[in-house]
Amino acid sequence: MDGDGIDPAALPRRGPVYRELASAGARFVELRGGAVAESFAADAGTETRAARRLALADLSLLPCLGFRGREAVDWLRRQGVDVGDRNNRAYRQPDGALAARMAPGEALLFGDVADESDLCERLADAASIDEEVEAFPVPWGDGYFRFLVSGKRAADMFAKVCGVDLRTDRFPPLDIARTSMARTSVAVVRDDLGDTPAYHVLGDVASASYLLACLRDAMEEFDGALAGLGAVRRLAGA
């Protein structure tokens, strides 16, 4: 592993594609018991420019938690979460976290890129099977990978692997598409980083390596690159 950073295999939580990221020259930092790729390029400016053009960052180790059940949405509201009134739409929380309302009885919460939100931990602690409420936590933080694809060419790249029109004028910020990407089921949530278009791509963690390879292959045409959490935070102004 990179002598300048930490070894992901030395930590208990390991991202689904940490080897691929390490092979691409990632420098890792510790985050929540795991290692996330902080940067790839030698200088921050290069990586930030790449992220504006087309880049993929692995955010799989950032907090993510699902809730399902007939009363899930109401229960989340009672916990102070804004889950809006539309399905397939994400709602920004005051602390920067997102609450993605996937279906009438399903929501997905994920932490902000600055990792300042404690929403997921708070709700995980609040949920209890002893409560006779039909709102059940689902460990999507482990079940899903979470890639953030950013840049002005992102939609062009997605068109090579996905049949849903994700162009910025057709797929508004915070909209959600549940679709197939390279024949793998994913959820796509648009979540721009400042003025740079960006999309969370979430899917079965067991398919993370496969889809990463597909996306990197599709990105080549547009000179896409891997980006670290640092570049993502810079674009987000976090």
Binding site: A9, L11, P12, R13, R14, G15, P16, R19, G34, S60, L61, G66, R68, G69, R70, G105, I129, D130, E132, E134, F136, V138, P139, W140, G141, D142, G143, Y144, A159, K160, V161, C162, G163, D165, R167, R170, A182, R183, T184, D204, V205, A206, S207, A208, S209, Y210, C214
Partner: protein
């Protein structure tokens, strides 16, 4: 200037005279310009023979200059059958002709043409199938002679891929109609994709002459192209071919090595029309070409197509050809107008004013071949005396014959999704009918040819498409007036010759008499005649033969043409390369969190559904020994198996137990918290479809495991059933969220004990089939005290992100005990020794529980479970087969294979489902279906292991290994 036939600018709108391109044709260097096609560059250098015909090996040259015919197919390195008339030249390109022996110009196989009389259509059906078996001798000889290009299996691989495109309106065809449609739709706010197969927009405006002065086309083209470029909302894609129009406006576009998949809300088909040939003797000679081909050579490539020309026409467009030829310095020896009088559009008058000889009521009845049939040296003009009848003749010297006798719509796309072509006797050609929903046609594909009418029709089609989208499109453009298509198509442009060579289908070398003979042989419908003669089945797919063949068949059978319909048109519109079809194929694969640890340990991975799983650890040549070592490790020490692929489903809610009682055969309402229980699932027909274990962690919470391959289908079934039952339960598939490791062997407890934090592992505290939650190596875990391999075992389910850390911790903790990972092959031996079945391997799509001796897993007390009623019916009937364990005691006997048949007398009783040589048991053991009366312990039955080879197997009680279960419950 490159080439003796090159014309000065402004002729040649597509070529860049500042950039020379040198390629080789038949080994000789040829110079062209960037923008030239292979055929245009050759023509500029006075090379007109491009290929040899399919059957008679006749020299052939460009016919359409539009990539629509087989005459222009050439061989490139690694690419056969490339249309030379649209393939751009490139430096260093090595181009060869196709289908000849010796050289293209002097084909040693051309003698076959002299046997033409003895090779009538269908001759090989009649000649080569007797005596019996003769075809096997003839076929290789015939196939060696026939064919086109050659596939080079060693050709370097290209990079092909696919992508999606999105739009509101897809306008197919970048001519005047398509551009007008695109503009009208975009002006209304629609997002439009405009595609054209040519390198520039413009369609016929690029090469055809629409007025006597020859100025209208260029003016109109400039106006439209500029407007398209200036209009937001139009993406123009040139060099792009729309190759298939499928359900719900799913259109496949191909550009270079990429296929684009478009789902358009509205489609405007503006694909134009294809000029049709005149049928006369020697109408296939090089430099007998469509009038539009000559115009393309002149206008697009700056190539003079001849020095002295005869134009055969049946419309004013032919006069436009004559005028263009004259403008290019070609002496037009004559225009033979098949009509009694020329049209009144002014073109004929302009030709006459230029001193061009016009012979009305005449046709070209024959072309006079030059040396070797490689050129034209004259044409015979004959007076038309009736439908397809001409008399007399005057030979006119010429080296070029142009044909402008009519059009057929390029409407193939419309037929891919339910549209059809119908014969319109008024216009003497096909017209598209019953277009797909949200599709409309405009321009010459619709039979509209006059430029003003084409523009109006295109604009209206675009407006209608926008209106259909719900856009505020305003008042629509005026309905176009009748487009003047009435006299463009001659109703009988066929003048058969007694000596033949009057080709109807150039691809297949079919002459008029071939079609007529097919009818005489009883193939009196176009669909039958097509299959007998192969008319329309060549590379150009009937583009130039369908109309004339249909005319001939209907005339020969005495049926009116009004009833005629062409043969079925199927996608693709143009030939596709295998690369485009195969390019960028996604094959998802799933990895467990420990995947890389397996690779690092030398695992041989195998595909198991979507997953990759370790088969065994070690070199392939060492497989048997490695599998045996892994089995020994589990039986004698401790091993660990990655079982993350097992499905994991959370079932939570007040009705969770009731839900499981309905879904599975056992009963779960009284399953204690902290206990696991076997699960078996049947479908509604009572067939076993899955099994697993359920762990009750709370009164309202069950964690259900499924087979690896069954996870998604079980989850789907659960959702489907509960959509009807509406029980208060939530079902979540968390397969990927958990990594799971099976730790098995007599030392399993010893390995696990130091890693657990606060979980008592003793038999008393944590008995067989108990489940616990806690921490293992600091990782939150679900612990299941279950066993599939017949030894003391624990299944540890932990968050996926920490699966690899758990694996590492167990490997470290187990090192003193000699722990080793084992793969699926060892697991299958171990579980077989224990007599456990694998759903899908030991069962099939008909196996119900009684057959598999699994009725012990059915609760008889609950009122309902899926498949319960069917099972009661099954059980009320006699068994027809039964799954039994068997042993083969003979140590010298070979090991049968799975699916070897079991017999009862001479009848098939069943098959072997699992089998292995067991070191622990000292014999071969397996599972097999046998007849019910054979399913008695100690009875024997034969297994057929080869032709007349049988093994004697003995029915043995299950489990084979540790029948008292002391080892797994220790």
């Amino acid at each position: 200037m490159t080439g003796v036939n090159r014309l000065p600018a402004p002729a040649g709108s597509l070529i860049d005279r500042s950039r020379t391109r040198t390629f080789r044709f038949e080994g000789r260097p040829v110079d062209g310009f960037a923008g030239d096609t292979i055929a245009s560059a050759l023509a500029a250098n006075d090379v007109w023979v491009l290929s040899r015909s399919f059957k008679y090996r006749r020299p052939r040259g460009a016919l359409t200059m539009a990539g629509q015919d087989a005459n222009a197919l050439v061989q490139l390195p690694g690419r056969p059958n490339v249309p030379a008339d649209v393939e751009p030249v490139a430096d260093g390109l090595d181009v060869r002709g196709q289908n000849y022996d010796g050289s293209l110009m002097r084909d040693r196989g051309a003698w076959i043409g002299r046997l033409r009389r003895f090779l009538p259509v269908g001759f090989y059906y009649k000649a080569f199938y007797k005596p019996r078996g003769a075809w096997r001798l003839w076929a290789p000889l015939i196939r060696r002679r026939a064919g086109l290009g050659r596939v080079d299996a060693a050709a370097p691989r290209g990079r092909f891929d696919k992508a999606y495109l999105f739009c509101d309106v897809l306008a197919v065809g970048g001519g005047p109609a398509g551009m007008s449609a695109a503009l009208a739709a975009a002006e209304a706010g629609a997002e439009v994709i405009l595609v054209d197969e040519n390198p520039v927009l413009g369609g016929a405006l690029n090469y055809a002459r629409f007025d006597a002065a020859g100025a209208a086309a260029a003016r109109e083209r400039r106006r439209l192209v500029d407007a398209v470029a200036a209009r937001d909302g139009i993406e123009a894609m040139t060099d792009t071919i729309a190759n298939g129009w499928f359900a719900d406006n799913f259109v496949a576009l191909i550009r270079g090595n990429r296929m684009f998949k478009v789902r358009a809300k509205e489609v405007v088909l503006a694909t134009g029309a294809m000029e049709q040939p005149l049928v006369f003797r020697n109408n296939d000679l090089p430099r007998v070409m469509m009038g539009s081909a000559a115009q393309r050579l002149i206008r697009l490539y700056g190539v003079r197509p001849g020095t002295r020309a005869v134009v055969a026409t049946a419309n004013d467009d032919g006069y436009g050809v004559a005028l263009d030829l004259a403008d290019a310095g070609v002496r037009v020896a004559a225009v033979a107008d098949l009509r009694p009088e020329p049209g009144g559009g002014g073109m004929a008058a302009a030709a006459e004013a230029r001193g061009i000889r016009i012979e009305t009521g005449h046709t070209v009845s024959s072309a006079i071949p030059g040396a070797g049939g490689r050129s034209v040296r004259g044409a015979v003009l004959s007076r038309i005396e009736g439908r397809g009848v001409c008399r007399g003749g005057e030979t006119v010297d010429c080296d070029l014959v142009c044909m402008s006798v009519g059009y057929a719509p390029a409407a193939q796309l419309a037929c891919h999704d339910g549209g059809r072509l119908a014969m319109d006797e008024g216009t003497a050609t096909f017209v598209p009918r019953d277009l797909p929903a949200h599709g409309r046609a405009a321009g010459s594909v619709n039979g509209t040819h006059a430029l003003d009418a084409v523009l109006a029709e295109g604009a209206r089609a675009g407006w209608r498409a926008a209106a259909a989208l719900g856009l505020d499109a305003g008042a629509g453009p005026a309905v176009p007036e009748a487009g003047g298509a009435d006299d463009r198509n001659h109703d009988w442009p066929l003048f058969p010759h007694d000596d033949g060579k009057d080709f109807v289908d150039f691809d297949e070398d079919l002459q008029v008499r071939d079609i007529l003979n097919a009818c005489a042989d009883g193939f009196d419908d176009i669909e039958l005649a097509k299959r007998y003669t192969t008319v329309g089945m060549g590379p150009s797919q009937g583009r130039h033969s369908a109309l004339n063949a249909l005319r001939l068949v209907h005339r020969a059978t005495g049926r009116p043409l009004a009833d005629a319909a062409p043969t079925t048109v199927r996608p693709p519109y143009a030939a596709e390369t295998f690369g485009v079809l195969a390019g960028r194929h996604f094959e998802p694969v799933r990895h467990t969190p420990m995947h890389h640890r397996h690779l690092e340990a030398g695992a041989r991975m195998m595909v198991a559904g979507d997953w990759l799983r370790p088969s065994f650890y070690g070199a392939p040549h060492d497989r048997e020994r490695r599998v045996l070592e892994e089995v020994r490790a589990v039986r004698g020490g401790v091993g660990m198996l990655d079982v993350s692929t097992l499905g994991g489903i959370e079932v939570r809610g007040p009705d969770a137990a009731e839900f499981l009682d309905r879904m599975y055969t056992f009963t779960y309402a009284r399953q204690p918290v902290g206990r696991g229980r076997y699960l078996m699932m049947c479908d509604e027909t009572g067939v076993i479809v899955d099994d697993g274990v359920t762990c009750r962690f709370h009164e309202r919470h069950f964690y259900v495991t499924t087979t690896s391959s069954g996870a998604s289908s079980v989850y789907r079934e659960m959702l489907w059933w509960n959509a009807q039952w509406r029980l208060a339960v939530d079902i979540s598939d968390v397969t990927g969220a958990y990594a799971a490791i099976s730790l098995a062997g007599p030392w399993a407890r010893k390995v696990l004990d130091p890693l657990t934090d606060g979980i008592e592992l003793s038999l008393a505290a944590f008995p067989y089939m108990a489940v616990r939650t806690g921490r293992v190596a600091g990782i939150p875990a679900r612990l299941l005290r279950i066993g599939f391999v017949g030894e003391l075992g624990f299944e540890l389910h932990v968050p996926a992100s920490q699966g690899e850390a758990l694996w590492d911790a167990l490997m470290s903790a187990g090192e003193p005990c000699g722990i080793r990972p084992f793969g699926l092959e060892a697991q299958r031996v171990l579980r077989l020794e224990k007599g456990h079945i694998i759903i899908g391997q030991d069962t099939d799509d008909l196996t119900y529980p009684a057959e598999a001796d699994m009725t012990w897993a059915i609760s008889r007390k609950k009122p309902f479970f899926v498949g319960g009623r069917a099972n009661r019916v099954h059980e009320s009937r006699p068994l027809r087969r039964k799954l039994v364990g068997f042993a083969i005691r003979d140590p010298e006997a070979p090991v049968p294979e799975e699916c070897h048949l079991t017999l009862r007398g001479n009848d098939i009783a069943g098959r072997v489902t699992s089998v292995a040589r067991s070191e622990a048991l000292g014999c071969v053991v397996g599972l097999a279906y046998v007849a019910p009366e054979q399913a008695v312990t100690g009875a024997t039955f034969p297994i057929k292991v080869g032709p007349r080879r049988f093994l004697e197997a003995e029915v043995a009680p299950l489990p084979f290994y540790d029948p008292d279960n002391r080892r797994q419950e220790m």
